[in-house]
Every structure is written in C-alpha cells, then in structure tokens.
Subunit: 328 residues, 2 copies
C-alpha cells in the first residue's frame, strides 16, 4: 500500500505539505492541494487515520445504539448522554437498529475496529451471549434496557414499580376493566407487564386476554389500538398505554369517536414526554427520569474509560414516579 | 506496530484462527479466544479494520449531520434517508452538531478519514469555503439547508413559497397584525422571512419589529414567546410560528391564559409533524415533505457513490403546501 512518503515524492512536495493538505490546514495554495490530490488518486492512497488514532489509542467517540429516533424517548435520552459527553470532550455517534439483530451486530463492529472508544445499548436485540465477546474491545453499558445475565454496568429504572404505580392509580379511581399496551419482549417488557398484573392481582381483578395489545410505541399505534378497543363487545373502562405517544394517539382518536376522557375512558401514559402536557386533557403518566438516566450512563462510561476497568458489574436504578394530570 | 502474524505467533495459533476471533466468528473455543485476546493485549495490537475497509475501499456507511434530535423534524428526515439507505445496503451514523462549528468540523473528519463513504448536511454552521475542501474526500449532499455558493447537490424546499403561503392564509382570514417566529441565520432562515414579508407587503401590511421572535424551534420556546406576546401593549392577532413545536407550545400556553384559538389568536405552524394533528384545535400548518426529502437525498447519495461522480451540481426542489386545520 502507498505511504505518505510515496505521495510526497510523486507530488514533488515535502511530507509536511502533504500532511497539511490531508489535514485541511489553511495556507496551502490551491496548486499544491491539486498536486497532492492527484498523487493520492494515482497511488490509490488514503490517509490512514486509524494509524493516527491508534497512536493515541482513542477516538473520543461513543456509539449509542437506539431502536428508533422517531420515538422521542430516545432523542431525550441522547440529550442526557450528550450533556456529560460534551463536558468530557466526547462526541456521540448515534445508530438506529430498527430492532434488527444484524444491524445491531454490524454497529458493534465500530467498537471492535476501534472507531469508537465505548458503546451504549439503549435496547438490545441479540442474545447477551453473542454480545459478550465484544466486551474485550472496550467498555459497553446498557441504559434503559437490561439483561440479568449481562456482566456489564446497567443504568435502569424499576419497571415493575412503574407499571404497578400506573395500574394502582387506575384501580384507585374505580377501574376494574383495564387494557394493557406494551411489549413482552426482553426483561424490560416482561417486568413492566409483571408490575401491572401484580397491581390487578392485589385487588383480585382478573385480566381479560382480549385487552392486551402489543405494538410499537407510536401515535399511530395508539389510534389503531383505540379503534380495536371500540370494536370489542366487552370494552375496558381504562387503558394503561405503555407510552405517552400511544396514550396521546388514543386520546385524540377517542375524542374523534365522541368519547369523553376520562369520564368514558381513562388513559394513563408512560415516560412523561412533552406531548403528555400538550394533550387535552393533559395525560396522566408514569415519569421516567430520561435525562438523568442519560447523564448517569455517560458518567459511568467516562469512569470506565478513565479507569480502564472493563469488568465492573454495577446496576444503577433511578426513581420512577406517577404524574397525575387530567386523563384518569 | 504489531501485525496479525505477530499475534498468531505469540498465541501459538494459526493466522486464520486469530482472524476468526477478531471477527467474532462462531465455533472458536473460549480457550483460543482468551489466548488471542491476551496476545493482542500484550502486543498492543488492534485489528486494523481500516486496512480491511481500504481494500474494498468503502465502509457502506453514511454520516448524517443534524443540529438536534429533540426537534422531531430531524428524526423524521432520518427515517426517510434510512428507507433508501437500507434498500442499498448502507447504514447511517447520526451526528448532532448542536449548531456548534467545531463539532460540525470534527464530524467532517469521518469523511476525510474514510470512516464513512459520504456525508449529508441537514443544517450547516461553518462557511461553505471551509467545507469545500472535504469534497475531495467523498460525496457530500445538503438536504433541507442550502447555500447558493455550495458546489454540491442540494435537496431542498421552496422556503420563500412556504412562508408566503402561510402568511397569505392568515391575511386572507382578515389578519393584519401578524407576529413572526423564526431564525434569520442561513439562507433557509432568510428565505423564509423573505416569503413572509412578501405576502405582507403585497397586501400593504406593515411589519412591527416588536412582533419578530428568534428562538430555537421547541415547545418551550413557543410557550415563552406566547407569554412575551401577551405582555405587549400592541398585540398581534395572529402568529406565524415557524415550526409545529413552537405552534403547539403557543396553543397550549394561550389556552392556559384563557385565550380562544383561533378566535382570540390565530396560529399557523410549519413542518406538519404528528403533534400538529394532536393539538386542540388541530394546528393549521405548512407541510414540508420530510420523508420524501430524506428519500430523495439518499437516492442522490447512492447515485454519487455508484457513479463516482463527485462534482455534479444539482438542486432538487420538492413541493410545499398549506394544510388547513382549525387554528386559523
């Protein structure tokens, strides 16, 4: 492979001039630039920044894997991550997996090939066993999502408690027929369902399997599920929406169908995103401390990068709380 | 610097076994893995994926620079980009610049150091002159944002027409006192203001400089601006909000202060994001074809990567239209 010296020789310029052109330094004449570019092209030479970065052994870049950015939960989580990243001179590379195992696996190569110093999962598609070997390549943290068997730091919330609080609030408002929306994938999804069912069981309320809905957390899903509920013969009087986006879609769709919220149907969200406050009636919800979770995660990442300790097992659990507004 | 052969020698294993461990292939025993990791550590060896990628001369990765992901406009734009990227086997690296020149410049290094095959700007902080040299490193496209002097392909909307349509609609509804929210940075911001003022001037309406507001496009900004408007002695009867997020924040805040929308105050948004439909009253807005703009941009990127033509100057302008709902 051609070297920078080859380029300098062919261009008839010094090695330092070639370097200045490659690094886009100012005060290089256009003619010299063109000579360098031409020589690089002729020799099929590309500046090997990997070598440069390997010398200092870091990229000051952290990869953040998210399922999708159109769910505002993730942009707000990234905002928290970035506050601490910036304070520590780190930049973020954000990667959407769209819940695809192969994509997630491909993005892991960023860590393995030293294009990033560390990697943060905010959701996980592959089995932990296939992720584990990548620990050798650099620090990995799970944020939001979690797996009991994962031997990496985790920053998470008590999802069982969160959904328990939400369901309990609906029950205390007299509801016995409560629909549930949410995924049952991964421990997060299972824990959330567990907390919901625990609240029902505590009050001897039985769950109707027709009232369980699985879908992605979007406004459109909320509208769709609301229509499905209206088509049921035995309708629930309250809905645990599982996300504010779903809850917002439901409220909008319910009103189009002439329902009064909360009189005809109570709706409780999850997350406490800005849309919850915008709705009319404003959405009662279970607040996740999203920004704080992001900041805490990046603090741990910085500490792992500094201490070079890649083996700590550490679970941080942040508080979760009910925000009462007008939709229950 | 150590090579893969050195690692194989020290580990007492074949080169191909080392390669399999590095590339995380299945069916390598844990013992062999540990031997390889130990040898790599001892020799300070990192798999040089750059070399691998240089061999095939591409990374199949496109960098997308956005100002901020908490403005939903950008996640929806990325969604459009990604549809076409996936169809063509490309992955995206998303980078937030937070309107910071240095950050933007740092992310450009991704292109220069061949960590990505191409780069897309959705906003631009630096002068075109300081971006231009990076064209030598790979295809660059501007999407949404634009600069007349930029000699790269641009996918954009007719911003002058967009704001003209919005202002015209307010004027046709009898308004003469119209506030304007928006940036005056960059050509996009200036064009949008130009279209707004053109509609006013056409109807011989004078602009009151007290009614011009500059802020970032967020729900909180909308609330803040609405409060500022309420504190004015001479109040506008209508607002061109410049974004749906600002418009949504305004509607919410206005209702808290007992105003009826649109009777006491008309509000028109910009973008046509999902939040526009959720509002009560639903937000009249100027629709930007966000998804289409993303798809079109990535189609151009694919074509530039395929044809190796880095010098085409090509402006694609997509249609923009008024969506009448209930807030005017």
């Amino acid at each position: 492979m051609a070297t920078i010296e080859d380029v300098a020789k062919l261009a008839g310029l010094s090695r330092s001039t070639v370097s200045r052109v490659i690094n886009n330094h100012p005060y290089v004449t256009e003619r010299k630039k063109q000579l360098v570019y031409q020589a690089m092209k002729e020799l099929d030479y590309y500046p090997n920044s990997s070598a440069q970065r390997l010398r200092k052994q870091r990229t000051d870049t952290i990869a953040v894997l998210v399922p999708s950015l159109t769910n505002p939960f993730f942009p707000f989580l990234i905002e928290g991550l970035e506050i601490v990243a910036v304070e520590n001179g780190l930049q973020l590379l954000i990667c959407q997996t769209h819940q695809n195992k192969t994509k997630e696996y491909n993005y892991l190569q960023l860590l393995q090939t030293k294009q990033v110093d560390g990697l943060i999962f905010t959701s996980l598609e592959n089995d932990w066993a296939s992720i584990a070997p990548f620990k050798e390549s650099g620090p990995i943290i799970m944020c939001n999502e979690y797996r009991s068997e994962a031997t990496i730091p985790v920053v998470r919330l008590d999802q069982v408690k969160g959904s328990y609080l939400g369901a309990k609030h609906l029950i205390e408002n007299g509801h016995k027929k409560i629909a549930y929306c949410g995924s049952n994938k991964g421990e997060l999804g299972m824990d959330r369902q567990k907390g919901f069912l625990a609240a029902l069981s505590e009050s001897n309320i039985e769950m109707n399997s027709q009232w369980i809905f699985r879908d992605n957390p979007s406004i459109e899903s909320g509208k769709k599920i609301l229509r499905a509920i209206l088509s049921l013969e035995d309708k629930p009087t309250a809905i645990f929406a599982g996300s504010d986006e779903v809850g917002a879609g439901m409220i909008k769709e319910a009103k189009i169908h002439g329902l009064n919220i909360p009189e005809d149907l109570a709706v409780i969200g999850f997350d406490d995103l800005p849309v919850a406050q915008l709705m009319e009636p404003a959405l009662t919800t279970v607040k996740q401390p999203i920004n704080e979770m992001g900041q805490k995660t990046m603090e741990m990442m910085v500490s792992m990068l500094t201490n070079q300790d890649k083996s700590i097992k550490n679970v941080v659990e942040l508080p979760i709380e009910l925000i009462k507004r007008e939709s229950v």
